[in-house]
């Protein structure tokens, strides 16, 4: 029997069906979790999909933060279960303070919808373990508020503790700083996705769930979805997840091309 992974559905979520497809391709059984319910239906992992939860009124993700299901998600995360937020799901997790930092309006002010290149880091984490070798990953973005921001001390701490899992890359393979062509939104230090200190909650702005089959233009996102599925299965079986203690800095250097 395959592992069950929940997909949180808010009014305004619009990538939930993509998430259903991605989880099936990734070998899991998807379970829709309604925003007004605190019942997680016994799932072993949670994916918060993209969209515009509650219309993104006030600030992207903030109204969703106070929904009943997010109380249950916070409790699930506290117990060590794997939670991945994608795009608006990342914004919801950031507003809920379940991952560090904030997502500001894109530096260019425009909503940006295009393919980007990501460089994964810490390939032993619950959300990168199935990627394999460190290589550039192509997948789409579609957002207006994706400029990752945290103060300098927090950024230093994140990098030191292995909290940065994905960065935007330039065409030449280098990390894309805020003003570089490979950086679509001005994210500080090219950060596209982070995880929490415990390591079991992560968010990213790009959409791995719409890049899981060659027919979609790229299957580079499948490794991330598979990682969530494998971590969910491990958590179900053992009550813990390998790699939920942040990797030491040496792991980053060792993974550099």
């Amino acid at each position: 029997m395959s592992v069950r992974v929940g997909i949180v559905l808010f009014p305004g979520s619009n990538r939930d069906i993509d998430a259903v497809n991605a989880l099936r391709v990734g070998g899991a059984e998807p379970e829709i979790l309604w925003h007004e319910s605190v019942d997680l239906a016994g799932v072993a992992g949670i994916l918060i999909p993209g969209g515009f939860a509650y219309g993104d009124y006030l600030r992207a993700g903030v109204i969703a933060r106070f929904s009943p299901v997010m109380r249950a998600v916070a409790d699930f995360a506290e117990r060590g279960g794997p939670v991945l937020g994608i795009c608006n799901g990342f914004q919801v997790l950031a507003e809920a303070r379940l991952v560090p930092g904030a997502l500001l309006r894109n530096r260019g002010l425009r909503f940006v919808c295009r393919q980007v290149t990501l460089l994964p880091e810490h390939l032993d984490s619950p959300f990168t373990r199935e990627i394999g070798e460190r290589r550039p990953l192509r997948m789409p973005i579609a957002h207006g508020e994706g400029c990752y921001y945290a103060d300098e001390a927090t950024l230093d701490e994140l990098e030191r503790d292995g909290g940065v899992l994905w960065r935007y890359a330039n065409p030449d393979g280098s990390v894309a700083g805020p003003d570089d062509p490979g950086n679509p939104n001005g994210s500080l230090r090219g950060i596209a996705g982070v995880r929490n200190a415990a390591g079991n909650v992560a968010g990213l702005m790009p959409h791995p769930e719409t890049a899981v089959e060659a027919i979609l233009g790229s299957d580079d996102g499948l490794g991330i979805i598979r990682s969530l599925v494998v971590s969910a299965a491990e958590w179900q079986q053992t009550g813990q997840i390998t790699g939920t203690r942040p990797a030491p800095q040496a792991a980053i250097a060792g993974g550099a091309a």
């Binding site: 006030l58 600030r59 903030v62 106070f66 507003e95 930092g101 904030a102 500001l104 309006r105 894109n106 530096r107 260019g108 002010l109 400029c147 921001y149 945290a150 103060d151 001005g186």
Partner: protein, 99 residues
């Protein structure tokens, strides 16, 4: 009349924290030459939220506003807020008072 029949009007002004890039403010600045305006800088775009709060007195109402301003209306990582007291609200303008 319930004992909460008094209501107070507040405004919460939310602005980007100093040092945080404000692309909206920059866009406003860049548009000013088209209006023939020079010498304007440091434009920061925020939002203003006004509300009426029913409470036993103004201090109690203020407490409610401070809480919702910090928890919901602003994100302390990127924004700061100021609460402005606008005085007692007209009872007829207040909903939810059982009037």
């Amino acid at each position: 009349m319930s004992e909460l029949a008094r209501a107070y009007r507040f405004a919460v002004n939310v602005t980007p924290k100093p040092g945080i890039l404000d692309p909206q403010g920059k866009a406003v600045e860049r548009s000013l030459p088209h209006l023939g305006i020079a010498g304007v800088s440091g434009v920061r775009v925020g939002r203003r939220v006004e509300m009426s709060v029913a409470a036993t007195d103004e201090a109690a109402a203020r407490e409610i506003v401070d809480r919702l301003a910090g928890d919901l209306l602003s994100n302390p990582l990127m924004e700061r807020f100021e609460v402005e007291a606008l005085g007692e609200a007209e009872a007829s303008a207040v909903t939810g008072l059982g009037g």
